[in-house]
Symmetry: C2
Subunit: 336 residues, 2 copies
């Protein structure tokens, strides 16, 4: 079934109701929305500085054709939530611009379900958007508040600060590898990999890729103590490099301290796992720096979220990002 | 020449400077920007309710392949400016998400020139965005302020209110017709239309299409007096229909009062011109309603901008949008 733009918006995205009433734009004062979906623009009522980001996903570039619609809806918002997490901001309002080849009711329903699953979890109100015909792309603009006017940037790191990451790294990149292996297997009689990998570990790695958990609560808590932060979307070495460039310093990463999940080590060798952890993006963990004097405050900040935080190195006087193993500089492991 | 994302942003879009300094995110306090391009998100400092909109342009859907890059950059922002104009809001901050097949330096330079031509005219700061590989699409998110907390919606119209439009209608739709005629002529020996149309009029109509003037100052001035407003992007009858639906009323349009430009009447018959004016979008004029008691205040509001405003009808008790000619109901003229 093919649907018109207004009907799609009314049916799947305008959740305040249906029919004419929805177009009368009842305010949702509790969420700071003075005017929501259905006019030329939305109106919000901020109570301080706002943090604003936009991210675009293009079929064939950021996701494979045929990706499940709910996973795409979830992911489109997750990517922007992760940006706000890296700023230490509280997400509040989203706009959604998307182009679709054809407006399939079932697909849109599942897309909306994935999007709102994550939006509801973080109290994000969808306040507007644009829907048009075209190649499949999804662009989310996300607006959040900087609590107490405080926010994190990439630029606040100082030489001597500790470098940390949340959670564990490399799972999403390993998940991509597993999915492409499976795609290859579909063309063979005798799957060469399936038997060798524990099902639970495969599932865990693929879930990290398809439903990443943006570290929103952690970012908010760290806004009080971190000196600089970035989300790991391009890979640890690349993103830590951006942080260093903005902070005008270098960094040392101690390879043995980079956190690897049990699932990742179940399926891959330690060398391969480290390569995924250093070079693979898409985990949407946070990488941040903090003064050594604040080590205990860092632990306290993330205690409530129960997310582990590992110190993996420190910021140095220039020299880019250097990897160390057992106290010696080494080349970063490459994917095998 | 093909360029990387960071280099493109630095060279064409990050106008605060070049090199590392640009990434240190110097605040642009005068424009309310606490953190601009180059981090995970931007930070702005609003001083009241914000009006937020997003619009997406897709090649082959909203513009033809091969459209001049500067016109595309201009248009992408103009469309969103027009939405804020219809809200009576003052535009302040923009984010730009775009996908391009290939990053051509010359093309990007001209795109940025067109975008900033209009951004500068309206004091809009580009604070962030996303640039990726993909089919050519441009999505602008625009954030503005509602002065004194006041903004216009489609929903405030009351039965008996006068209906007005700014400027004149139909030029852009006529411009599309002329451009497609010219494209057809390119394949013939003896152009059938060229001789019949005054060059100045052709140029004027095509300019309305390629470089529309969003009625930002007019919208701001009207925020104090209009009861409802919408921008004419889909066509007068369609957009007035949206206003009526949101305001739970109908409307009568007196055809002889719909303003037509001299250029439009130079090239087309009055019937054809009226058809373009009623059905054609892309003029980005404002259609708004106001109490008859406020007729003089409406004139005063737009006096400074020197844009003409014409009363074309009034809001009625239900019944959709009805066209009248010489006091009789008529079917809306169709394009010939």
């Amino acid at each position: 079934m093919s649907l018109g733009e207004f009907e799609i918006i009314r049916r799947y995205f305008d959740r305040r109701g249906t029919g004419a009433a929805a177009w009368r734009a009842e305010p949702d004062a509790e969420r700071g929305v003075l005017l929501g979906i259905g006019d030329d623009a939305a109106v919000i009522d901020p109570d301080g500085p706002l943090v604003v980001t936009t991210d675009m996903l293009v079929e064939g570039v950021h996701f494979l054709a045929g990706m499940a619609a709910d996973a795409l809806g979830y992911r489109a918002l997750a990517v922007s939530l992760s940006d706000l997490a890296a700023m230490g901001a509280a997400p509040r309002w989203a706009l959604l611009a998307m182009s679709v080849e054809q407006a399939e009711a079932r697909w849109l329903e599942r897309f909306a379900a994935g999007f709102f699953e994550l939006a509801d979890r973080h109290g994000v109100a969808l306040i507007g958007g644009d829907l048009t015909r075209g190649p499949l792309t999804v662009t989310v603009q996300l607006i959040g508040t900087a609590r107490g006017g405080r926010f994190l940037t990439r630029a606040g790191g100082r030489v001597g600060d500790d470098v940390y990451v949340t959670g564990s790294l490399g799972d999403a990149a390993a998940g991509i590898e597993l999915l492409s292996r499976r795609a290859a297997e579909d063309h063979t009689e005798d799957p060469p990999f399936r038997a060798r990998e524990a099902d639970w570990a495969r599932a865990a790695l693929e879930a990290r890729l398809l439903r990443p958990t943006p570290r929103v609560a952690e970012g908010l808590a760290l806004a009080e103590v971190a000196s600089a932060a970035i989300d790991v979307s391009d890979g640890l070495l690349a993103d830590l490099g951006h942080l260093c460039e903005a902070s005008a310093c270098g960094a040392v990463v101690e390879l043995e301290k980079v956190p690897l999940s049990r699932a990742l080590l179940e399926v891959f060798s330690r060398d391969a796992a480290q390569a995924y952890a250093l070079g693979g993006g898409d985990d949407y963990e946070l990488c941040f720096s903090a003064s050594p004097a604040d080590a205990e405050r860092v632990r306290e900040a993330v205690r409530d979220s129960r997310t582990e935080v590992h110190r993996i190195g420190r910021l140095t006087q220039g020299g880019g990002v250097v990897c160390m193993r057992d106290g010696h500089g080494v080349a970063p492991p490459r994917r095998v």
